[in-house]
Symmetry: C2
Subunit: 408 residues, 2 copies
């Protein structure tokens, strides 16, 4: 008998019929003798409907009151889910974040979980109930309703699993696991049976949008056994996310290829090469709350250097304006330019730590296809390159083949 | 400076535009220096949508879980209302029933308020906030969400006014006050400036559906000054509901004419006239949770009597079946019959206590129009008759004229 936390997203609870399916799945786990905590999101579309309603009243909705409204999405789903279970003859009881209590800080719309009181849930589990908890929401010390921000239901699931010392936290999504890359781009992409936490972080942040990144960090911190599964498949095994490197010699060197075209590249040309220049360029960007991803600065040649970084495409205009208005003249840069026709492709794998030659194989593979590399950035378990966005799919396909990631 | 509780129903918050109108009205009161607590219902249609959703999952929804879901209707409205006020530059803060705390018993879907903790609200009012409270909902001693049942938002308004010792509780509806009778039947019907609590009770229970009856009883118990106003009129005075008889000599004898055609008449003919017979007839009806309104038993003639009572039209079939199956043979009644083509018309007024001749004037007026009276029932401040339903409008019009209730 295990204690399992199962998290179901908006599509899995998108209609009464789907909620009934979910209940039947939970019933099968319950019949095996497990204790089950179900965490649910709002029905798909509901959160956006509520935010839209709020904006009709107040163009920039007050965060406290927005949380009061938006949290009703999950509150409806927990009631429906508990009823669907009862309708199958299973004892079930719903909890809002505030009823649990999932105590958060008071950063409305993006609150962080401080602690979870697991007493009532433990009592209900012992009494044979399936406990249904509203994802995405909590309550601050003063009793104000808070939300954790988009994707926060994953975090609720993981945090509950940690608090309850659950044997496993299962995240049900519309994909059946983590793949070597996006199967829409490479049909031969293969589901990974397991992946390390660090690889998952790289894959998630690079655009494999399977899990919300904060929830994976949370799982890592509390060593929660996390599994991604499909809510539309009967008996999938999904992908297990592990927190220790596999000792197995057969472990693959590369786990997957991540990619995204959400970024734009900004280059500051002819920057005098002196201490503090990086701060002078990026300080004003950070002050404007523009997130920066890759940062590259090459060695100086003639006393000046070129400084390049990437931001989200939507923020390129803002970043360029800041640089031109506040930075260019100040630091004496020759030119500022932006390019949003780029893509980032990364090869990810813990195995590359102990295997040389991954980078050269990656670069050779791209060169053979005539794909020019504009930027390179590496970490312990990842090599990322920026290329012209029109070559993105090609690059992903040839790399997937070169590293032999296909279905066996 | 007064403390005013204003309650707005589903139509008054039925769209973002209407919520903005509501906020402008509250702003005008606030500008006069009053402290305002706003109680709101769910947006019209929302409660039914949620109940429908629940029934798709579970034909007879679990009451605890239904309350979890249905209470979200008002929770959305409090967020929107607080934002609409903020958008006008007014400090506002929302409260769910559980946040207030409005403590109720645990009778889910029809809970009764036990007590209200007014500390936080008083503090916010002193700090200059308009406080927006979700109607219709509360929380039981164990922290479960409860609802007060249909119309319960009126009760929330009155109960809050009592707990806060408010100067006035204003109930905003889609009518601009209490009328001598329904203006759709009698165009000359006149709005009453004030009406006593008892008259209001009679008018409300007889079908003048302006206020939810439990809220009026509540107001009477706690001596809350209650006013009914239109949410679509700028400067209406509405109708004040008072709890002491007006000493004014000019006080009208009759306040209004109430009517409804929701009832059906059931007659048990040829009942042996012996002690306990009323209980033997009505006991099984009550056991089946069928509400009975009028009850008439006439004096015995030949050792047998006829027993007549009224029930809601929808329950006539059920009541007849019970009588035929369980009662008729047992008590030896000759015949059981039902008639749902009836209407009840009542003349209501505290003044009739000290004025003889009201009943005879009523009966004469109906006789002059050839309207036959099937049943008569009287109280201190009301005379009700049951007639053929086809004469209902005619009866209301001629009585309204006979008692000189027209617009002056």
């Amino acid at each position: 008998m295990a204690l399992i936390v199962q998290k179901y997203g908006g599509t899995s609870v998108g209609s009464p019929e789907r909620i009934k399916n979910l209940a039947r799945r939970v019933a099968r786990f319950k019949a095996l003798g497990h204790q089950i905590v179900v965490v649910v999101s709002a029905m798909s579309g509901e959160t956006n409907r509520l935010i839209g309603l709020a904006r009709e009243i107040m163009p920039e909705p007050d965060p406290r009151e927005l949380d009061v409204m938006v949290s009703t999405g999950e509150q409806v789903t927990i009631g429906l889910t508990a009823m669907a279970l009862m309708d199958l003859g299973i004892k079930a009881k719903s909890y809002t974040g505030s009823q649990v209590k999932i105590v958060t800080d008071n950063a409305h719309t993006k609150a962080r979980i401080l602690r979870i009181d697991d007493k009532s849930i433990q009592k209900d589990l012992k009494a044979g109930y399936v406990v249904v908890v509203a994802g995405f929401q909590g309550v601050d010390e003063k009793g104000n309703i808070t939300t954790l921000g988009r994707g926060g239901s994953d975090t609720t699931g993981v945090a509950l699993a940690a608090a309850l010392k659950a044997d496993e936290c299962q995240i049900y999504t519309d994909v059946d696991g983590v793949y070597t890359t996006d199967p829409r781009v490479v049909p031969e992409a293969r589901r990974l049976k397991s992946i390390t936490f660090e690889e998952m972080l790289e894959l998630a942040s690079q655009g494999s949008k399977v899990l919300q990144i904060r929830s994976v960090e949370f799982a890592g911190k509390y060593k929660v056994k996390l599994r991604v599964l499909s809510s539309f498949e009967e008996d999938g095994e999904g992908t297990l996310i592990t927190f220790e490197e596999n000792e197995d010699m057969e472990q693959p060197i590369i786990s997957g290829i991540a990619f995204n075209r959400d970024e734009a590249k900004i280059t500051v040309l002819g920057v005098p090469d002196r201490p503090g220049i990086a701060y002078q360029i990026l300080g004003p960007i950070a002050d404007a709350n523009v997130d920066v991803d890759m940062i590259i600065q090459n060695v100086s040649a003639d006393g000046t250097t070129d400084f390049t970084f990437t931001v989200h495409k939507n923020e390129m205009g803002k970043a360029l304006a800041i640089l031109k208005d506040k930075v260019q003249a100040h630091i004496g840069a020759r030119e500022i330019s932006g390019d949003d026709k780029i893509a980032k492709v990364s090869v990810v794998g813990v195995g590359m730590r102990s295997h040389v030659g991954i980078a050269s194989q990656m670069f050779r593979t791209l060169a053979e296809e005539g794909i020019n590399i504009q930027m390179i950035s590496t970490s312990e378990i990842k090599i990322a390159v920026v290329i012209d966005e029109k070559y993105m799919e090609l690059a992903v396909r040839v790399l997937h083949k070169a590293f032999e990631l296909e279905e066996a």
